[in-house]
């Protein structure tokens, strides 16, 4: 059957053309990222332009990417790992899969935004906020602390995206600051009181359309929407808990070089670039609205300066993802 033969030949050609070509080349580095796709791409493009080293990106979410690296172990194709939050970095660090970050890179990052071990470094930061609907909630009635949201009077009134790594970072900060008993109590209140959304953006929009009065999210969703169509945040204002409250937690996004990397120099150069003036300027001038933290680069002008937010000091390398998940499972959030 000529038709059959033709289709077989066609498939073979197609596999040959598409298949192996889409795998990573020998040149350049592979970056596993759970950071925003657009931000990672902007970094990669600028890095390639500066150094000539091509970058291949694999996008995922914090926990999935971290666990994938752990599963892959020595054989991981990844050279660099970028995250949105610290707990995923801690997972990989505890598996012993990171190579130490070059001292010259660490010097660019303030100590509070990187682990003491020096196995990875902070590259950006995001702050926890309570975005509330100003038509439904008066400023005077705002919760004084994130812990208040677990009270019975807040039942059905607020939203969050508890399944996401962002939220788990907040809970891990709570765990670090207040211990497991208080965290378990708070999670029971979360399960009872909060509407669970797919993501932070949906939670924010839920507050904007009045499904809930407020949402516990990271700041950049609000600023990103304000900068874009604005239609999911036009009735909202941001409440910063301040006062070193767990709800004022600043989450550090991390970057590390894999010990198994076959291009360690290029990988270290990528970290140096991201934490350097060029990489941080992309945070300041781009539309990711994450905080620049390194090389003395200032935050995006739309953002309130970190200094004034009175956030709690948490060592990012102590954030315990697995205990958080166990507590969240026990409380029925998962």
């Amino acid at each position: 059957m000529p038709l059959l033969r033709q289709s077989v030949v066609g498939f073979v050609l197609a596999v040959w053309a598409f298949g192996p070509a889409s795998a990573q080349g020998d040149e350049g580095i592979v970056v596993y990222t759970s950071q925003h796709a657009a931000l990672t791409q902007a970094w990669a493009a600028a890095f390639t332009e500066e150094t000539g080293i091509p970058v291949t990106i694999r996008k995922g979410t914090d926990t999935v990417m971290a666990n994938q690296i752990i599963q892959e172990g020595e054989n991981s194709p990844a050279d660099v790992f970028l995250t949105e939050n610290s707990p995923a970095m801690v997972l990989v660090e505890r598996a012993g899969l990171f190579a130490p970050v070059a001292a010259s890179t660490l010097e660019r990052v303030p100590e509070e935004f990187r682990p003491a071990s020096g196995m990875w470094t902070g590259i950006a930061a995001r702050t926890t906020v309570f975005a509330y609907n100003t038509e439904l909630l008066d400023e005077a009635d705002l919760p004084g602390s994130m812990l208040d949201l677990a009270g019975h009077d807040w039942e059905g009134r607020w939203g969050a995206a508890p399944a996401g790594a962002d939220f788990q970072a907040i809970v891990s900060a709570l765990l670090q600051l207040r211990g497991s008993e208080e965290t378990a109590d708070w999670l029971a209140g979360l399960k009872r009181n909060a509407l669970a959304y797919r993501g932070n953006f949906e939670a924010m929009r839920g507050a904007n359309v009045g499904e809930v009065e407020g949402a516990l999210i990271y700041h950049y969703y609000y600023f990103g929407d304000r900068d874009g169509t604005g239609e999911s945040s036009d009735k909202l204002a941001l409440h910063h808990f301040g006062d070193e409250d767990p709800g004022a937690f600043v989450s550090v996004s991390g970057a590390g070089v894999l010990a198994s990397s076959s291009h360690p120099d290029a990988a270290q150069a990528f970290l140096a670039f991201v934490t350097g003036p060029g990489g941080q300027a992309i945070l300041r001038d781009g539309d990711s609205f994450e905080y620049a933290i390194a090389s003395g680069v200032e935050a995006h002008p739309a953002l309130p300066p970190l200094d004034g937010l009175d956030y709690p000091k948490v060592d990012p390398s102590l954030l315990n993802a697995s205990e958080v998940v166990a507590l969240m499972t026990a409380s029925g959030v998962f």
């Binding site: 598409f18 999935v64 994938q68 990103g224 999911s232 029925g332």
Partner: protein, 533 residues
């Protein structure tokens, strides 16, 4: 009984069957090579179940029972059960009513309504949900979940019912009518029972899809076992809790399969004599026709016009800027088309041995093998992907995150679709023709390929179209298994909606629909074309 016969969702209206008596009770011995191939495919299909069981054993009963018997799981099971119990009967009722209106009444524009009842198939379920969510951001919970599920999935029942209606001999209805039954009772007592296989087959597909559906429910915040598994996976990776929920999901799938075989019954539907059925008369709706037309019009506006206008609104608002991702869109389109084509071909190839056995050598062993193939279709992409991640990483690392593994996942996920389409079209090819070819000197393999497969080709094409449509919109397994740098339309769409970029996501949704539409046409043609009105 997971058996032969014309249960195909989109089986051709079987003209060969009308000319040759079907010999239901005659079995042909299974060729050993064929049996071996079917067994091999079954073994591969059992990998996800095996993986889940290994995890269960490794977890130990104490931890497992603590994770299974908790209020959260009861909540998820209740949601999943209510969803199935409401959405599946509603989808059946809607599909049968529409099929009756478009096939058996003089409803104006019947052809148009018929097409519009198939088009929702080309719109991915999560795009339906995304459109509703865009219009009514506070749609939450069971009722909208049921409504959107019905709108997105009822064509899976509509198509086979239409196909079956077209092949029915109206003489049976004439007899019923001559016995003094009013038209409604004729439909209920003479026609409906004959649709039983078509309805059962379509309902099975719907039920399994609802079990595995993820994106649709996440967007409207309705939690099912599958969404919980994905949540767990995102939080813990392959922790025991996710895998134990996976076991529950497998149990649900087995329950659905059992229910379907019960529903399908074991009656004989074949016609003994040849005979040429005339075209069934259409019932006059009389002056009430505008009232009747409200139904297809309402369904079409909710299941086609609503998603389409929402998408167009986003596209309009995005203007040329939304297409500035042009390069990304083109690459995603190319990769999606590649995976859909190759995945569909491989899946049908893998389904062929067992489908052949189903048609030619049914029996207890064959049924068992077939069940091993089909249960995978009920697993969410996540469970299959988890299993493949664990296995490739531990045993076959060079295959990890390669095209091969992703294609294997697609084959596993869509085997059920392929089998259901293939076995019906193979069953409708009279084995006598193949025997005649052999008697005329063709080697058996040539006779099988040149005669039987060629006659079954339209059904096989429909099976491939079904699989290709599934792959085009597959999300969760693709996210976890794709090679570095791979971006399909579905993953890009999901990433963009997750990054609050509805405008940027719209072109990807449109591309998925445009890619699926021709497949939809193939299915429709295949289902209703053979009689060729």
């Amino acid at each position: 009984m997971l058996l032969q016969r014309d249960t195909a969702p989109f089986s051709p209206a079987g003209s060969p069957d009308a000319t040759f008596p079907r010999r239901r009770h005659r079995r042909f011995p299974a060729h050993p090579a064929l049996l071996a191939a079917a067994l091999a495919a079954a073994a591969v299909a059992l990998i996800p179940a095996g993986f889940v069981l290994v995890v269960l054993v490794q977890t130990g009963w104490e931890i497992a029972s603590a994770l299974i018997f908790r209020p959260r799981v009861a909540e998820l099971l209740r949601n999943t059960f209510l969803l199935e119990a409401l959405a599946v009967p509603l989808a059946i009722a809607l599909a049968v009513t529409l099929a009756w209106l478009t096939e058996r009444t003089d409803l104006p524009l019947a052809r148009l309504w018929s097409w519009l009842a198939v088009v929702p198939l080309a719109i991915p379920a999560f795009v339906h949900s995304y459109a509703w969510d865009g219009l009514f951001p506070t749609l939450r919970g069971l009722a909208p979940a049921v409504a959107i599920s019905v709108l997105a999935y009822f064509p899976f029942v509509y198509l086979p019912v239409v196909a079956q209606l077209r092949r029915l001999d109206p003489a049976i209805e004439d007899v019923a009518a001559s016995l003094g039954n009013p038209p409604v009772r004729v439909f209920l007592r003479a026609v409906l029972p004959q649709l039983r296989l078509a309805i059962a087959g379509g309902a099975l597909l719907v039920a399994l899809h609802l079990l595995a559906e993820y994106g649709l429910y996440v967007l409207i915040r309705f939690e099912t076992l599958t969404t919980a598994i994905v949540d767990q996976f995102q939080a813990v990776y392959d922790g025991p809790a996710a895998n134990l929920l996976g076991i529950l999901l497998v149990a649900c799938a087995v329950g659905v399969l059992a229910l379907e075989s019960l529903l399908r019954g074991d009656r004989r539907y074949a016609r003994i004599g040849p005979g040429a059925a005339r075209v069934a008369p259409r019932m006059a709706l009389g002056r009430a026709w505008p009232l009747w037309m409200l139904l297809p019009a309402a369904v079409a506006s909710l299941s086609v016009a609503l998603p389409a206008t929402t998408l167009l609104r986003w596209l309009w608002r995005g203007g040329a800027d939304a297409w500035a991702w042009g390069g990304g869109l083109g690459a995603a389109l190319g990769q999606t088309a590649f995976y859909a084509a190759v995945g569909a071909a491989l899946t049908c190839l893998a389904a062929l041995p067992v489908a052949w056995l189903s048609a030619r050598a049914p029996g207890r062993l064959q049924r068992l093998i077939e069940a091993c193939h089909i249960y995978v279709g009920s697993l969410p992409g996540v469970v299959v992907a988890l299993a493949l991640v664990a296995i490739t990483v531990r045993v076959a690392l060079p295959l990890y995150q390669t095209v091969v593994t992703l294609l294997a996942a697609y084959v596993l996920l869509y085997l059920a679709r392929a089998i259901i389409a293939l076995r019906a079209s193979l069953a409708q090819v009279p084995v006598e023709l193949e025997h005649a070819a052999i008697a005329l000197g063709r080697p058996p393999l040539v006779a099988a390929v040149g005669t039987t497969l060629r006659l079954a080709a339209p059904g096989i094409a429909a099976g491939m179209a079904l699989v290709a449509m599934g792959i085009t919109t597959e999300l969760t397994a693709t996210l976890m298994l794709s090679p570095i740098g791979t971006r399909t339309l579905a993953t890009e769409f999901w990433a963009l909606t997750g990054e609050f970029d509805h405008v940027g996501a719209a072109p990807y949704a449109l591309a998925m629909i445009l890619l699926s539409l021709p497949l939809c046409v193939i299915l429709y043609r295949q289902a209703v074309g053979a009689i060729g009105r």
